[in-house]
Symmetry: none
DNA sequence: CCATTTATGTTGCATAATGTAACTATTATT
DNA sequence: AATAATAGTTACATTATGCAACATAAATGG
């Protein structure tokens, strides 16, 4: 005789409400916004259910409802999402490609910048990572992830980058042993150099290239051929350059000669 | 008919209660949630049994029951985001009182916490300030202000505070000469001590009290009489305690004896 | 052997969560 | 401004879960 009234209800484990809540908040922390329709599809529940979830979270003050979804009500993240608009798809794909190079348990350095931020997003549901960063936004977002340790490299904050620069940050870098570093850059010059806007930035990235087990530059295609004043010293020690589409042939060849691999996302 | 007492039936199926408990807790630690239906299937026992298991574990304080399963109860989870809402008016008035003590050109240290965040808000339109802070949110906010320099004290990020703690932050403090520091605290004990939750926090604040030209503790009235485990050493060197209403007479007198002034906002 | 305890299964009903549908409001498009 | 498309609301149906009471079966102890 089979027992069926209470036992094995033929039902494939609908997610628990707290599970949904957890993931909703994680997505929110990562992206700044969530959409009801997307979430409903993702969890395979009705939109009404998601609405009820969001209502609860909103009542607890964890998010703010907006038409079609919810946002963080932190002014901090808002500005962020705005800036991110350009090339968002390209950056997201670079982020995924970069995240594929990271295994659980690693120590990861994330530079400041919107492209490295995309890497942080792509690492959102990883477990057991240690993140080192100079970026305030990245630190704030990643520290909300469970099972992720975050080290903020301190120093004077550059308002344009919203990240620490200067001597303190430079020095702090040397304290860490990082497995893999993802660095931004101002441009990818026609002769295959990654260049930067400021002396401090270039020096900081240079040190990280030299220190990290593997260093990758993440650069979206808007940077191709762009010239900024400072070459990043020792750039050729980097393991690779992650881009959203293949750069001009001349650049590729120059890179090949120097050493770093060209990794085209997606 | 069958010998079954020794018959190791299909691996995890039909485990003893303590075995189930062990695995339940392991799963909980890994995923943050467990579902009754899933566990019942996994152990091949009835849902009622799992419910009884969870009830026991909940009675022992090892998890928190929710509809359909259980979660680990996270005191930190929403702590920061929730706390922000509480006592907002009181904190704002404390913020204004604190800001009144700051003159343009000063070097100001802002501790982590929601009350110090209110101080940051109150300083929003000041010119020519230098802000030092361990708080990610404060750094992010203040660096968007024109004519404000921000120094972020780096270190490991405590997710509950969303601020740097630990040895790096401690050390970084000593590099600065600050005119005025605004510090948070866990509680204001009946005998007029400001106390803290963690050793690191207490030490960090203690150093700041000793280092800063003037140090003020900002405490909303919910902290009055509250006991937290660690006294902040050298607290009596602080210039004052800024509160939103006058504390109990005993506390006021104890404070007077020790030295710090009591400043009631508004 | 029986009585007792302990763990588990079963059942029925109360409660809570989710789904559905009809209708209204908002946003986007022309 | 009119329209279509998308999202929000409300009310109610459906399903899943919680709970308590009782049933069953093995273990325990005399």
């Amino acid at each position: 005789m089979v027992a069926d009234s209470d036992m094995s209800d033929s039902q494939s484990a609908r997610a628990l409400a707290p599970r949904r809540h957890g993931e909703i908040l994680r997505r929110l922390a990562a992206d700044g916004t969530v959409s009801i329709t997307e979430l409903a599809v993702h969890f395979d529940v009705s939109r009404q259910t998601i609405r009820r979830d969001l209502k609860q979270l909103a009542d607890r003050g964890q998010l703010e409802l907006v038409h079609g979804g919810a946002t963080l009500f932190e002014p901090t993240e808002a500005a962020f999402t705005e800036r991110r608009g350009e090339n968002a798809a390209a950056k997201a794909s670079i982020g995924r490609a970069a995240a594929a190079l990271v295994r659980d348990g690693m120590v990861v350095f994330l530079d400041s910048g919107t492209t490295t931020l995309a890497v942080a997003h792509a690492l959102a549901d990883r477990k057991d990572l240690t993140i080192c960063t100079t970026s305030l936004s990245i630190a704030l977002q990643m520290c909300r992830q469970p099972q992720v340790r975050v080290h903020m490299l301190g120093g004077e904050i550059d308002p344009a980058e919203e990240a620490a620069v200067g001597i303190d940050a430079l020095e702090a870098i040397s304290h860490f042993r990082v497995d893999v570093a993802f660095l931004g850059g101002g441009g990818l010059s026609p002769d295959g150099d990654v260049t930067d806007f400021t002396r401090n930035g270039a020096e900081q990235r240079s040190r990280m290239v030299a220190t990290a087990g593997k260093a990758y530059f993440v650069l979206d295609s808007s940077k191709f051929g762009r010239l900024t004043p400072l070459r990043i010293p020792r750039f050729e020690l980097a393991a690779g350059v992650i881009v959203d589409r293949r750069p001009q042939e001349a650049i590729c060849e120059a890179l090949k000669r120097k050493g770093p691999a060209v990794i085209v996302a997606e």
